[in-house]
Symmetry: C2
Subunit: 448 residues, 2 copies
């Protein structure tokens, strides 16, 4: 935690009060301060829970307007983050993800307007009927209440999280990456003031960044106040949150993703899917990390595929059969179990030739993180077995793994991709930020 975090970069009438924190480690006053943040979020959430879609959408547009209007202040704060990042040796890639300019801020504001255009999940009747005894029963979608978000560097996640939680009727408590602390402080301040101008409570959007790491830990333990905590970031962050949190958590994002090329696959279909899955965007959770090839397809598919991967700048980590089939000018690094286990998030790909579909399913069962797997095949029975037996959030048949994405699957924006089975699995949109309530109307009904 850097000293600059102890005082937000700007502070209007609706800025959260700056709170001194202990120089290292959690302290009782940090815990109490974070619980107080969560309590205020809970109170604020009550106002939003009964707000109409009209009120919420107007607020989202107002937040977007405010971000654009105050882009200069955001950029100024961002310059501080970038300077600190350069001084601490952040890579060019990370600096690029951190950087904001008016065009990027405009795009971020545009995402808020897109969320405003999405249907409101609140009030949806999930099921309902009149029971034989005449009771009218319905199960209605309602907001969660208070959503916690713990995430890493990119400041656009701050705005995305606010948009999705507000639209679904929730208050949000944010703990962003320290690298983006100055940008996030200004963004949160801008959004809070815009909420108040709309007649909504500022405390719908709060950050615990000023409390540093201990603040994040306190958030993980705010039982009864935080209804769900969503970590978004690398494997380490997610593991820490899952292990440490006593509030309900949705595990997101780690994707050790497989593409399986079956015996009957059409190479003209398989190769574009493979290249798209591996190279269209590396460093994302739905990018492919391992290619499995049926041995009957290996000779016809692998040599040209390895050449294409090589030309795309991909380093192949292959088993013996793969190495033997590689053209002379393509280097294959010998693969170990560690390669099967690794989510590279880079231009690397593990490649293994398998005896049959069963061996492919077995490999996936052993090594997959349960995010997304794809089969390329012309055989109906193989595709049906793959769909039935792969135990992952998403299964693709003759399509790129990159389609596991809320926007691509028509959910609108997404708050993350769940790799757990409880509550939400796969891309999480607005509906996944709600829960349900049973509402029962009777006429003096008693239970016999």
């Amino acid at each position: 935690m850097t000293t600059s975090l102890d005082a937000p970069a700007t502070g209007g009438a609706h800025a959260q009060p700056p709170v001194p924190t202990s120089p290292s480690g959690p302290a009782p006053d940090v815990t109490e301060a974070v619980l107080d943040v969560a309590r205020r979020a809970k109170v604020a959430a009550r106002a939003l829970a009964v707000a109409t879609r009209g009120v919420k959408d107007a607020a989202l547009h107002a937040l977007a307007d405010a971000l654009v209007a105050e882009a200069d202040a955001v950029v100024t704060a961002n310059v501080e983050d970038l300077a600190r990042g350069r001084a601490s040796g952040l890579s060019d890639g990370l600096l690029d993800r951190l950087a904001l300019d008016p065009a990027r801020i405009s795009a971020i504001a545009g995402a808020l307007r897109e969320v405003a255009a999405l249907p409101d999940p609140v009030g949806e009747v999930v099921r309902g009927s009149t029971l034989p005894n005449g009771l009218r029963m319905r199960q209605v979608r309602v907001p969660m209440g208070v959503v916690g978000m713990i995430y890493e560097a990119r400041p656009n996640v701050t705005v995305d999280a606010v948009g999705l939680t507000l639209k679904s009727g929730n208050a949000v408590v944010l703990r962003g990456g320290s690298a983006a602390a100055s940008s996030n402080a200004v963004i949160v301040d801008v959004l809070r003031r815009a909420l108040v101008a709309q007649g909504l409570p500022a405390d719908l959007v709060q950050t615990v960044d000023v409390f540093g790491r201990p603040g994040g830990v306190a958030l993980m333990h705010a039982r009864g106040l935080v209804d769900v905590l969503v970590p978004r970031g690398g494997a380490d962050l997610i593991r820490t949150v899952v292990r440490e949190a006593t509030v309900p958590v949705i595990e997101t994002g780690v994707g050790n993703v497989h593409v399986y090329v079956d015996a009957t696959a059409d190479p003209a279909v398989a190769l574009p899917i493979l290249l798209n899955a591996k190279t269209q965007r590396v460093g994302v959770c739905n990018a492919a990390e391992t290619l499995l090839v049926h041995r009957d397809a290996a000779e016809s598919f692998l040599p040209s595929a390895l050449t294409a991967l090589d030309q795309a700048g991909v380093t192949v980590h292959g088993d013996d059969v793969t190495a033997a089939l590689a053209p002379a000018d393509v280097t294959v690094v010998p693969a170990t179990d560690e390669d099967w286990a690794t989510e590279y998030l880079s231009l690397d790909l593990a490649v293994r030739v398998v005896d049959d579909l069963d061996a492919a399913l077995d490999h996936i069962r052993t090594w997959s993180s349960g995010h997304t797997e794809a089969i390329v095949t012309r055989d109906l029975a193989s595709s049906e077995r793959f769909v039935a037996e792969v135990d992952s959030a998403a299964v693709m048949v003759n399509a790129s793994t990159r389609f596991t994405d809320g926007g691509q699957l028509g959910l609108g924006a997404e708050i993350g991709i769940s790799t757990q089975k409880l509550h939400a699995r796969g891309p999480m949109g607005l509906g996944e930020l709600t829960t349900t309530k049973w509402v029962v109307h009777g006429d003096g009904h008693v239970r016999p």
Copy 2:
């Protein structure tokens, strides 16, 4: 943990191997043994995940038949439990809940047949469409995998849990109350043999009772193997599991349930609902624990209500206004904050007169456990506000709180009543024991 638990009371070819445990505290070998149980459950679950409804329903009937056929062995083991219970001073009420006879075993078997008659949630398409780019997307209900159950005394819960988890395509790992250990060991053994006779893996049903308390703790930490853990029992048990578990947990059951009698309530509707909610069955989570009365209804409603409660054997813990309105022959114990907070689970009721609907909502917000609240009213606006603003799993309008029940609400049997907001809220039936999988079919689709 009693010594008799170290060796199951019976042991056929498909009995789980008896494993010696350390006399006190968790030990690495217990952890490893429980992880091994969970691993075997995961393998067994794979077979069931692709089983048809026909196979599962036939198995459920076979389990029911086996329980009836081997009722004598179950009763013999139950006699051991009862003797141990009497020796350790269990109350008559607990001994009654523990006791099994052929009639009760027949009823328990009947519950399995009822689960067989319920629709199969697996395979249900939750949503699906063809996307603008031609991708065919559907979200399909699939089994969770491995369900853990940690519960208290009643052996019927063992069978209910097995029925619901099998029907929903899951394997179950049980940790029952030590008071019912002998009964549970025989029941599990009977069910395992019946599964094998149906060509299904015995390891779909396993217990970690032989490992005692450390086995339960190991189950709570079996990350990656146990997909969801459902504790069922008293508040202490649930609190312990929620705090201790690192696997996903669904919190169940604690019900500090309120009945609010509004200014316009018809006493002829309010009194039967109140008596039903409080006295139809005490000791259950959907029974009323606090009565709130609008002050405009207090004079007309409370005197006769207090007399009726008194005649029903209910001890009233009331505020000053309530005490002042009580008939001379009805004793009102002065209520403290502890009364507002308590889930009595007995013939006790806290009673408070409130100034208006806002005060009632405020009381509920402060003290409710979020299970069920009821309003009795003739005023539409009051009912609408109560439904919108009470943040509980179930809200009743002019109906008894006792209707918060899977069977009563048409879900069929229930595995528990969730008081959390994640995944399941309120009664949990078969659907709540499943998750979903995204299945996407393309024709070589890649992401642009």
